[in-house]
Amino acid sequence: MSILAFVEIAEGAIKKTSQEAVGYAAEVARMRNTTATAVVLGEIASAELENLGRIGAAKVLQAADSRLNEGNIQAYANVLAQAVEKENAEVVVLAKSSLGDAVAARLAAKIKASLASNAVELPDTSNGFIVKRSIYTGKAFAYTEMNSDKKIIAIKKNVYTPAETENKASVEAFSPTLQEADFNVKIKETVKATGDILLPEADIVVSGGRGLKGPENWGIIEELAGALGAATACSKPVSDLDWRPHHEHVGQTGIKISPNLYIAVGISGAIQHLAGVNSSRVIVAINKDADAPFFKAADYGIVGDAFDVVPRLTKAVKELK
C-alpha cells in the first residue's frame, strides 16, 4: 500500500498547490504507516523532482513522455490509474484545479474509488476514513465517509502547509502504456497568460468590482497586486461586461479561491460573490458604501474612495519592502 500525489507542472515548475498535495499525501502516508509517491507527467528538469522529497515524497514516478507535456484529461487519467496499480496505492491526493478535477473524476471510475472534493482537513482515520469537505460553495462542510478500498482526495488551496526537510526523493522513470484513443481530444491551441501569478495558486488576491467604473481604471488594482506579489481577480459583473477576462472571475459561478489574503475593491459583496471567496484566511473590503454587505464578511474594512485609498495602500506596501 502507498499514497500517491498527482503533481501538476506550470511553466516548468511544480505548482504550489501540488506541493500542498504532496505534503498532505505524506501526512496521510504517515497515518497509514506507508510512504508517499509523487506522480509527475511530462518532461520536467530532474532537480525539481528530487526536491519533492523535501516536502515528504519518498519516491517520484516520472512519466517523461512528450505526449504528456500537455494536460490531456483521458491520457492523464489512464496514466494515473496505471500508477495506482503499480504502487498499489490506497489513496490518491491532488490539488483542485481545472485539469485535476476533470482527471480525478475519470480516474475515480477507472479504479472505482470514492472521491472527496474540496477537502479542508486531513482525513479522520480513527473509525473508518472520513474526510471533511467544503460544500454549498463554502457555506457548509460535510463529513464524508469513504466506503471504497481506493480513495481520491482533492484538496482546497491552503489546507495543508508541508513541513520542509532535507530529504531527497528517489526519482524513478515510469513508462505507462498509452493508447491512441487517450488522445481523441485534440488540443489545438492553448491561450495562456504567462508570467502572471495564477489565480488559484496565489497567496494574495486583489480583486476589483463595478465600483472601479471601467476597465481603464484597473491600473490601481494591478499596481497594488504587483506590490504585494498578488494575483488579480474580479467580480461576475466585471467579467460579464468584458472589462476583465473570464478566468479572473471569482464567485459562485466562477473560480473559488482560498488565499491567505483577499482584498476586494469596489465589490458590494453579494452572497454569490462571497461564496467563491469566503474560504480566504483574511478578507479586506474597500468600498465607498458603508452599508456594503462585504463588511459583514470581512476581517478589515475601509469605507472610502478606491481611487484615493488603493494607491496609498500600494505606496505603503512599497515602503514596507
Binding site: 464524508t144 495558486e201 461564496a275
Partner: protein, 245 residues
C-alpha cells in the same frame, strides 16, 4: 443530433444553508430550489444547438418527485422530453451510474451537464459518466460548437483557455459563457405540461460515499474598520496582527 442534458435541483444561490436532525439533513424549510446554474448553461446551449441544426433534447434528473417542477421548467425552455430517475442523489458514483445506464439504452451524440452541482461542488459526474461509457469527457467547457460529427470546444484552464477538437459522442461539463440562460415564455410553460416526463427506478444501489454529519462554518468575527484617512494602517495590521504580509 440527440442531446441529453443532466440537471440538478439545488437550493437557490442566495439560500442561507442550515441543517436539521442533529446536522444530518439539509433544512429545506423556506428554501427555494432551482436548476443548477451551470446545468442551466448546459441546457441553454443544448437548446441553441437544436434550434440551429435540429435534433432532440432530453432532460435527465436523478431525484425524488419534488424535483419535477425543476424538470418542467427545463421542458418549458425547449427540451422535448424528460426522464426522472426516482432516487435521492446523495453520491456522485451512484448518480453517474444512473446517467450511464440511461445513456446506454439510448444513443446520445452529446451529453451535457454543468461543470459541478452547486450543492456538493464535486464536479465529478461528467468524468465518471464519460469513463463509464468509454467516451471522452471535457470540463469546464466555455464554448461548444458542432460541425458535422466534430465538437469544437474551449476549455477554461488556469490563466487562460485551450481550444479542443473531438469527434462525437462526448460528455461536457459546462459553464458560462457557453450560452445565455433562457427564460421560459408562456407558450413554453403551457406546452411543458404535456411533454413526456418518464419516471424510472434506479439501477443498483451502490454508493461509494456517505455523509455522516454536516457542519456550518464558525461565525466570522466583527470587521475591524479603518478610517480612510488612515488607510496605510491597514498594511501594518495585515503584517503585525493578521500576519499575512
Amino acid at each position: 443530433m440527440k442531446i441529453l442534458v443532466c440537471i440538478t435541483h439545488v437550493p437557490d444561490t442566495t439560500t442561507k444553508i442550515s441543517f436539521t436532525d442533529n446536522n444530518t439533513k439539509l433544512n429545506k424549510a423556506g428554501v427555494q430550489f432551482i436548476t443548477g446554474p451551470y446545468d442551466d448553461y448546459a441546457l441553454s446551449r443544448a437548446i441553441e444547438l437544436k434550434e440551429a441544426s435540429g435534433g432532440t433534447v432530453t432532460v435527465l434528473n436523478v431525484g425524488l418527485a419534488e424535483t419535477e417542477p425543476t424538470i418542467r421548467k427545463a421542458l418549458a425552455v425547449g427540451a422535448d422530453d424528460a426522464i426522472r430517475v426516482n432516487a435521492e442523489p446523495t453520491d456522485a458514483f451512484f448518480v453517474a451510474t444512473q446517467i450511464a445506464s440511461i445513456a446506454k439504452q439510448n444513443t446520445y451524440d452529446l451529453i451535457l451537464m454543468g461543470r459541478e452541482s452547486i450543492d456538493f461542488n464535486s464536479g465529478q459526474v461528467h468524468g465518471l459518466v464519460g469513463e463509464m461509457l468509454g467516451i471522452p469527457s471535457v470540463s469546464p467547457v466555455m464554448k461548444l460548437d458542432i460541425e458535422g460529427t466534430t465538437a469544437k470546444l474551449s476549455r477554461e484552464i488556469e490563466g487562460g483557455k485551450e481550444q479542443l477538437e473531438v469527434s462525437l459522442p462526448l460528455v461536457a461539463g459546462c459553464q458560462e459563457p457557453i450560452a445565455e440562460w433562457k427564460i421560459p415564455n408562456m407558450r413554453g410553460i403551457m406546452t411543458a405540461r404535456t411533454k413526456p416526463l418518464k419516471v424510472v427506478e434506479p439501477t443498483g444501489k451502490e454508493e461509494l460515499t456517505t455523509v455522516t454529519k454536516y457542519e456550518l462554518p464558525a461565525p466570522k468575527g466583527a470587521c475591524k474598520m479603518i478610517p480612510a484617512e488612515e488607510a496605510e494602517k491597514l498594511i501594518t495590521l495585515l503584517r503585525t496582527e493578521a500576519k499575512v504580509l
